[in-house]
């Protein structure tokens, strides 16, 4: 460790990673990256990547997600994916990604040996430390991945409680992990429903058929918004909402009206919140009594650059709307399009 500190002091101000990565991108010590070691296409529109994370990887809890970054046309893009593997397989990360959107589309074409950026795992969609005796898991489409991680983790732990795994896919050809799901231990009951092949969508009938004891067990749910809504409606009606543990699989679609000022602006650190007036964020912050660091007020000096944690903003200079989480924006030329949260 002392050697690393000396190396950092010698290589100031850039730091050791900026030199090591030139030898090989996976040699980085502080940053986290993943090298693709295997690529498999389980279905026509998904890819399953096996990654070997670099040395800074601290592992994950089944159900959590990681941020994966790739450079597309010179721009670094980041999306979240839930690892599908057991949390007990150290140094291995399995991601199953459905082809939709820029990053996921790009990842479909990855080849072994390529390197992506990674974050440490995050998220509270995890199993309790003491594993429940009875468990219900409900997933749809590629929302299967965090639940697959739980299923495999429990198997590695020799969990012998009753588990029902209720999964929705469009057709049998779209079923992910089909082989493995068919070979589960006797305590795991896998129920698959094909929504485009006559089984229809989630209903209370499905629930009762799959896990008649559902009222007495926690239920982990991950999938497209309609599935989540349907499950929530059934549980709410029976006042069982507290048993649901959910993970938003796809963010709700936002309709952007660039002319209307909608939503709430929130400055997270100062806790100040106000309705969006449609003016650039710097002006709105000042009107709300904040005084963010700033300079030219015309987008040239970058003094007012802050991290936008959530929400969409329109760049008043380029007109471009961007909605990526944790991206840097210039307050003086960014106009909120709906709810926005700034890390300041």
């Amino acid at each position: 460790m002392r050697l690393a500190a000396l190396a950092e002091a010698l290589l100031t101000p850039h730091g050791i990673d900026r030199y090591l990565e030139l030898v090989h991108p996976m040699l980085v010590r502080r940053e986290l990256r993943g090298e693709v070691t295997a690529v498999e296409h389980q279905t026509a529109d998904t890819v399953t990547l096996t990654l070997r994370p670099s040395s800074a990887w601290r592992g994950f809890q089944a159900g959590q997600y990681v941020r994966v970054s790739v450079d597309i046309d010179g721009v670094r893009r980041t999306r979240c994916y839930s690892p599908a593997g057991s949390q007990h397989r150290a140094g291995q990360l399995e991601l199953t990604i459905k082809e939709q959107g820029l990053v996921s589309g790009h990842l479909q074409r990855m080849r072994p040996g390529q390197v992506v950026g990674l974050s440490q795992a995050d998220g509270a969609f995890t199993l309790p430390g003491r594993r429940p005796k009875r468990l219900l898991m409900i997933s749809g489409g590629s929302g299967i991945t965090p639940l697959m991680a739980m299923l495999r983790t429990l198997a590695d732990e020799g969990h012998d409680g009753e588990v029902v795994f209720l999964h929705y896919a469009n057709t049998p050809a779209d079923l992910l992990y089909a082989g493995e799901l068919a070979r589960q231990a006797p305590n795991v009951r896998v129920v698959t429903a094909y929504t485009h092949a006559g089984d229809g969508f989630f209903s209370r009938k499905h629930l009762v058929a799959a896990a008649p004891w559902y009222a007495d067990a926690p239920a982990y749910v991950c999938g497209p918004a309609p599935l989540m809504d349907a499950v929530r409606a059934v549980y709410d009606r029976e006042k069982l909402g507290a048993q649901l543990i959910t993970e938003e699989f796809t963010p709700p679609e936002l309709v952007i009206d660039e002319t209307a000022a909608e939503g709430t602006v929130r400055f997270a650190h100062s806790g100040v919140e106000f309705p969006n007036s449609g003016r650039p964020l710097l002006e709105q912050a000042e009107e709300a009594g904040l005084s963010p660091e700033h300079g030219c007020r015309m987008g040239i000096c970058f003094s007012c650059t802050k991290v936008k944690a959530r929400g969409r903003v329109r760049n008043a200079k380029s007109g471009e709307v961007s909605g990526e989480d944790n991206e840097e924006i210039q307050l003086c030329i960014s106009v909120p399009a709906g709810d926005v949260e700034i890390d300041a």
Binding site: R18, Y19, G74, G295, C296, S303
Partner: protein, 375 residues
């Protein structure tokens, strides 16, 4: 009426501003992988030169190795400060969202902490370019470089101050942020919280910089420590002289104009562009020269579009120049020796008190003087 605003009619200034905006939009729309590949290549080259330079100094007992080591390290520091640091910290690559290329995260191999410099340079200098009493880059609070700066016997030392500054330039850039002259005049307090923050950033950075160049690397080379120390000092000096030369040629050659706060009040976008052109000067040269100068050889283009990747400036220079010609505007450019000579003459000239009566029009005058003479 004032010089800056009388230069073009309101219709002309608007059309001129639109033409500049159009260049900007065209380049911004075209940014992509090539720009990232370019800067990553420069960074790779810089890191390679740095590692090679440090390694060669371990063989510093062999004079050619010492010389090659110093050469490589000097080039590495020049690339780090000019084409990489200066440009990245201008936000030229913020659109890539790559943390190593983020204006807010980049730290460079020089004494001035990035955060201090972003305030004094990106904000103050680039917003108030050549506005007297606003832009502290006019003489850096040390030199008299403009006729509108009131003469004082202190300025008799102008050439000495400039020479000393050239040698210790990286320290000068760091101390520039403290605005010592304003503290001396009582306009700014040493205990000012903003100043305290700036100072708090300086000490750790300086310790790290001095530590690696003058303590750690010399110690690592054991008996060669004095040679390594000398080698690192020489590399820092080379970078200092080079950076000083390039930067002084950006705004101080003759015919570059300065402005008053009144004439820049309520400036339109077109007038802002105009001020950047009148207040900056280019240096001609080959592609390698432009890279080593961080493309500050295209100071005019840089001041028009400070957040566009610098590698694009040569691409648009001819067009900017043609637009200047079309509107009858000056486009100050020339080879390095000519611009340096012009700067040197100015430093000497303004060391002396202004002559009471003028026999001939002076080349270095404020725009408003030209207008009053024309009237």
């Amino acid at each position: 009426m004032t010089g800056l605003q009388d230069r073009l009619t309101p219709e002309q200034i608007e059309a001129f501003g639109r033409e500049m905006d159009a260049i900007r939009q065209r380049i911004v729309a075209d940014l992509g992988q090539d720009d990232v590949d370019y800067i990553m290549n420069v960074i790779r080259t810089q890191r390679g030169l740095e590692v090679a330079g440090r390694a060669l100094l371990f063989a510093g007992f062999f004079p050619p190795a010492w010389l090659a080591g110093v050469g490589a390290l000097s080039l590495a520091k020049i690339l780090d400060n000019m084409e990489i640091g200066h440009n990245v910290m201008h936000g030229q690559y913020d659109w890539t969202r790559i943390p190593e290329l983020s204006s807010q995260k980049f730290e460079w191999d020089t004494m001035a902490p990035a955060e201090n410099w972003r305030h004094s340079h990106n904000y103050i200098h680039h917003t108030f370019t050549n506005v007297l009493d606003k832009d502290r880059d006019i003489g850096y609070g040390i030199l008299r470089i403009d006729p509108a700066q009131k003469w004082h016997p202190y300025y008799l030392g102008n050439p000495v101050y400039a020479t000393v500054l050239a040698f210790i330039f990286q320290w000068g850039v760091m101390l520039h942020d403290l605005e010592f002259d304003r503290i001396v005049r009582g306009e700014r307090k040493w205990s000012d919280p903003e100043l305290k923050q700036m100072r708090a950033r300086m000490a750790p950075k300086a310790v790290k910089q001095v530590g690696k160049d003058y303590v750690l690397f010399p110690l690592l080379t054991g008996p060669l420590a004095p040679l390594t120390f000398l080698g690192n000092a020489t590399a820092n000096l080379t970078r200092n002289l080079w950076a000083f030369a390039i930067i002084f040629c950006g705004h101080f050659p003759s015919d570059v104009e300065s402005f008053t706060e009144e004439e820049t009040e309520n400036e339109s976008r077109g007038q802002w562009y105009l001020r950047q052109i009148l207040g900056s000067a280019n240096i001609t040269g080959g592609p390698l020269f432009h890279i080593l100068s961080g493309n500050l050889s295209h100071q005019i283009e840089h001041h028009l579009f400070p957040d566009i990747p610098a590698r694009r400036y040569p691409q648009i220079a001819a067009e900017v120049r043609a637009i200047c010609e079309k509107y009858g505007l000056p486009y100050n450019t020339g080879p390095l020796r000519k611009q340096l000579w012009s700067v040197a003459k100015k430093i000497v000239k303004f060391a002396l008190p202004p002559k009471p009566q003028r026999s001939a029009p002076e080349p270095d005058t404020l725009a408003r003087d030209k207008v009053s003479r024309a009237a």
